[in-house]
Symmetry: C2
Subunit: 353 residues, 2 copies
């Protein structure tokens, strides 16, 4: 590999969502070009319309292989996957055609990364209903990546600046989330989180492990999981050399994370981690009646390839307006590039992931 | 009642914690004296030491009844409850004597408010272990207040500026919290929250009701409580004239609250509400290795008397250093005074609570 910036494949997301527009904006941003050599995996016609909608002022180049990409800052290289009928596109609507296309873009990006043709992948939002309407399994990106790469141990990390959270479980009911707080899984996530921080250049990551129950259970007074599952997992992690601490009271650990006492918090369930991260990254303006910023990056840990993502959805209400913010996508591209550089800098042959 | 500011009774909290010190600081702050006529319910000897530790520069006056209070800004009027042995005080330690004393201060303040001698109460932190060591039921302030005032329907509201959260449950395990998400209880909390906002002068409170499960369950995909319990409760609240909305996805509703779209969020469990409120109100400085600010107020809704509280604990690690911040206590005093003024301004004989 040369000293050139990594090639990062960005999926277009659901054609009816904000993905194409925020991609057009992000590809026009110099920060994107400094961080990496970006490539869009999707449809050139849809991107041409997105460029017009956002007045991004870029040319769209349809290519059939990574080798054809020129990475010219005035151009979006679009690796064409399938042939989407842009004439029939209804923005802001669920459709089987969009579900099918968005799924194919994801699979295309995964395969390019697995083959080594690109060094990292970044995903734009897909719509679960649309994917289901196309007759495909109604799952999220993370599950598609895990299945296609044969990965069994993985987790979702959310990042907003130096605020990082890895999750023991995500899209399950809160009752099932309680059931999933088991020593082996908690330990697995601590280890994945530690590796992720090291890959980001943190020499000795300080990992805070949140409790499950209020006040981390007050020694069994409010629930036993903190004492019986989380505490032993933290003990084993420490014995294995990880600077882990916990279980800590969930209601103050995120203030400590923001204050710089830790590099990452291991959260026990979806909202325990998502509520504080989105409170920091999402800005809603009541007067304007809209989100003015949706920063934050979603990183899948444990995969053999690099995958980051925006941490918002298709935002059908904004699609076609050119108003959606590309902050989160720019952060996701930056993160993917940083992880790719870190992986390249590791010794050849070293297994990372 | 005259046009004078309300008399607010502030309990001293556990003598070994930061309560006495932050009370000394707060009583020395002009904002406290503008908001109300403050009275300390506790021990004069402990307060004299706290004044010295914090260099608050106030005189301590031991009084036996509210009628003796002078409310001189250069003085702390201490309504003496019992006789604490200050010579034997070990700051930062759990002790039965401190547990007993802190409990007695709370009961003293409740009885003064129930008798009408004071118009509101504000509590400093007690330590559950110490209360238990004294052979008393190991519960929190809220439970003591509910029992002593014979209140059955109540809830905890956390407030940080315009950020208000009322809780369906608090100090129970997360599994039990799931069990407690029942239509009748959710409706009860929505109604208490609406009344609390009106008491704060909000003419038509906009109440957001958070879901229990990720994405508010995605219509039953991740748990049924959102659809089967919360949604009907919101429906009944709306039918009763409350501007309630929900169940809303928990991971973005707090960003919307902060953005001004709502006046209050009804949270389904302790950490759902506590994590975002403390993330906004608590500032931790890793370099200094300590909390630099712990703002935020805890208000018990549904009581026949007014009770607000700091939203932090005894902070035994800071006790005796004079370093603890009185921000949260000042906010709690201000809130108690505002609620007392609002109650006074209601028509005579009107039942409020």
């Amino acid at each position: 590999m040369t000293g050139q910036p990594p090639i990062v494949g960005v999926t277009m997301g659901d054609p009816a969502g904000v993905g194409p527009e925020i991609a057009a904006k992000a590809f026009a941003d110099p920060r994107c070009r400094v961080a990496c050599r970006p490539l869009l995996v999707g449809d050139a016609d849809v991107m041409a319309e997105a460029v017009a909608l956002t007045r991004a002022g870029l040319r769209v180049r349809r290519i059939a292989s990574v080798a054809e990409a020129r990475f010219d800052p005035a151009t979006i290289d679009v690796l064409q996957v399938g042939a989407f009928d842009v004439g029939g596109l209804a923005r802001g609507r669920v459709s089987p055609a969009c579900g099918r296309a968005s799924y194919d873009y994801v699979v295309g990006a995964i395969d390019l990364a697995m083959s080594g043709a690109i060094q990292a992948t970044v995903t734009n939002p897909i719509n679960k209903e649309a994917v289901a309407a196309a007759g495909l399994p109604s799952t999220g990106h993370t599950e598609i990546y895990a299945r296609r790469t044969g990965t069994k141990r993985y987790t979702m990390m959310l990042v907003e600046g130096e605020f990082r959270v890895a999750h023991v479980s995500t899209h399950v009911s809160l009752r099932e989330a309680c059931d999933r707080v088991k020593k082996a899984r908690v330990l697995e996530v601590i280890v994945l989180a530690d590796a992720a921080c090291r890959a980001l250049g943190i020499a000795r990551p300080r990992i805070a492990v949140a409790g499950l129950n209020p006040h981390a259970g007050e020694n069994g007074l409010f629930g036993a999981e903190d004492r019986d599952e989380i505490q032993p997992a933290v003990g084993e992690a420490v014995a294995a050399g990880v600077a882990a601490e916990g279980p800590l009271p969930p209601d103050t650990v995120f203030s400590k994370l923001r204050g710089g006492l830790y590099d990452l918090v291991v959260a026990m369930y979806h909202d325990q981690g998502h509520i504080p991260t989105k409170l920091l990254g999402f800005q809603y303006d009541a007067k304007a009646g809209r989100w003015t910023s949706v920063a934050g990056v979603n990183v899948t840990l444990g995969l053999p390839i690099i995958r980051t993502s925006v941490d918002h959805g298709t935002a059908f209400d904004l699609a076609g307006t050119g108003q959606a913010s590309c902050d989160s996508l720019l952060s996701a591209v930056g993160y993917a590039a940083a992880l790719a550089n870190s992986r390249r800098d590791s010794s050849p042959g070293e297994a990372s992931g």
